[in-house]
């Protein structure tokens, strides 16, 4: 027993680089050898799905891209899944970006979904309005007068020349609002400056770390549903029946979590054994 406890104490002071190697292995192996673990949609993901399901052909959805390459693995899969659902339902999609890198994330998602998969027409089925700096001031501007913030789209076309921009003068003209957000400015600002003042139904997809911050708005009904990180994306992919990057990453995510929980438990046991010994002597 004493030898075992010695081992635990020694293992507790293991060089952290060994832990990095173990984590790298447990993340990488399921990517090569998928386990196909089951994915069950949570209520918040189901709420977003149900809300989008209720939209009708020709309804207008404003989708805002507020993330960049650094958070792409978490947000991009859900943005792609949501666009698939919207285009499947023939909803008109208007894309804005509050982050400069968001414009390129949006371009990539559009190319993949609107152009390659659904062959949608630019200016009739979707429009990429592009990035505008100014954070919440941009949202405030869009709520009062859309055309003061955007006179041209991301390609330099005048808004008046884009057919699907007819009748769009403010945020209240949309039927649905979705923020794919990785931080500030993002979900919270859209709630404060757009969804709450106008009453437009809003859903969001955030990084995992933001879920705790955003959840109170979901609980109070200010946001209708949230997709949290890669699991949120995987759940949405499951709901729309189109597996994507989110689904393929979930095996690695689950295995890594089990290993990390194991490390935490082991580290705590080691800590308590060491503390008991130091008290004893």
């Amino acid at each position: 027993m004493e030898k075992f406890l010695d081992f635990i104490v020694r293992a507790g002071s293991l060089d952290r680089r060994y832990i990095f190697v173990v984590i790298a292995l447990v993340v990488m192996l399921p990517l090569f050898f998928p386990l196909n673990l089951p994915i069950r949609p949570t209520v918040s993901s189901q709420t977003i799905y149900n809300t989008v399901e209720k939209l009708e052909s020709g309804d207008k959805a404003l989708v805002s891209f507020e993330y960049g390459p650094s958070t792409k693995p978490e947000i991009h899969p859900m943005a792609v899944a949501l666009l698939r659902h919207l285009f499947e339902k023939d909803v008109k999609v208007y894309i804005t970006c509050l982050w400069p890198d968001g414009q390129f994330m949006a371009m990539e998602a559009i190319q993949q979904v609107a152009v390659n998969q659904y062959q949608k027409v630019y200016g009739e089925d979707y429009v990429l309005l592009g990035f505008r700096p100014g954070n919440e001031a941009v949202i405030k501007g869009l709520v009062s007068n859309f055309r003061k913030v955007y006179t041209v789209d991301s390609q330099g076309n005048f808004l008046d020349d884009i057919p699907m921009m007819n009748g769009i003068n403010q945020v209240a003209d949309f039927d649905y609002l979705f923020s794919a957000s990785a931080g500030y400015p993002g979900t919270v600002e859209w709630v404060q400056y757009a969804a709450d003042p106008t009453g437009v139904i809003m859903g969001t997809g955030t990084t995992s770390i933001q879920v705790n911050e955003v959840m109170p708005y979901v609980q109070s009904g200010q946001i209708k549903g949230i997709l949290g990180g890669m699991p949120g994306a995987a759940e949405y992919e499951k709901l729309i029946g189109q597996a994507g990057i989110g689904t393929s990453g979930m095996d690695a995510q689950s295995v890594a979590h089990i290993v990390i929980v194991g490390f935490i438990i082991f580290g705590n046991i080691s800590f308590f054994v060491e503390r008991r010994r130091s008290k004893k002597y």
């Binding site: 505008r132 006179t151 879920v211 609980q219």
Partner: protein, 280 residues
Amino acid sequence: MNGSEIFGAWVAVFLTLGIFSYLYKDNPFYKIAEHVFVGVSAGYWMSMFFWTQIQPNLFGRLWPVPEGTISGFFMRTWYGIYNLFGSILPSVFPDGGIDKGHGTHPHFIYIIPFVLGVMMLLSVVSKWSWFARLGIAYTVGMAAGLRAYAFLNSNVLGQLKGSAVSFVGLDWFSLTDASIINNIIILIGTITGLLYFYFSKEHKGNFGKVTRVGIYFLMISFGASFGFAVMGRISLLIGRFTDLISYGGPTYNYASLWVLLLMVILLAVWTFKSEKKVAS
């Protein structure tokens, strides 16, 4: 797959592995990746801000393409300034004015943000750096005014409404929906959590016991945050690994494998030399 895409993949692999190499220890590869990231980000952001806001929305409003010929002394002088700028930077100030859908008459009110912006840039000149305070004061004042109402409406009133839970007409317990038990937890958590931040009374006796419950709720919240943070970091790691795996294929000439091999060899040499240097 064209050459530039393959080259891009090699650069992405090098930068990814360069950043990962910090897990071993601080080294030149990490330094290169870090500096490239900071430099490229700053340049990219500046360029995006300029071409999506300053050029089209500020200069585009100050010097839109005029209707017909420019007449009057003032307007000729105004567009004379524009032409002067245009002779220096023709790509920013093209001939005849900037056409970004802001009408045909200059919006002179935009001179104010233009001047405030120039004042903020003056912070780099020590003698005139005080000008920057005016620009900053405007920005801070505007942001405070803009945020005050939004916070009051969404965070105070909205959250108050959200916390005002019902105990009537609900099931006793539900794992996913609102229920009496869940609403009791929300009520207790909200009240005890708020009381924990009440410092006008010492946290002793019955009051101390109540605030201790508040601490437990806070700890559970922090635990959930930690769990979500771990989940997020693992997702990012999966994202990078997915890219590294795809870049390690024949399409990209096995970029991940070659760069990894080269980096490991060079790191080993570098470590060996540094240790030798320390020993001597």
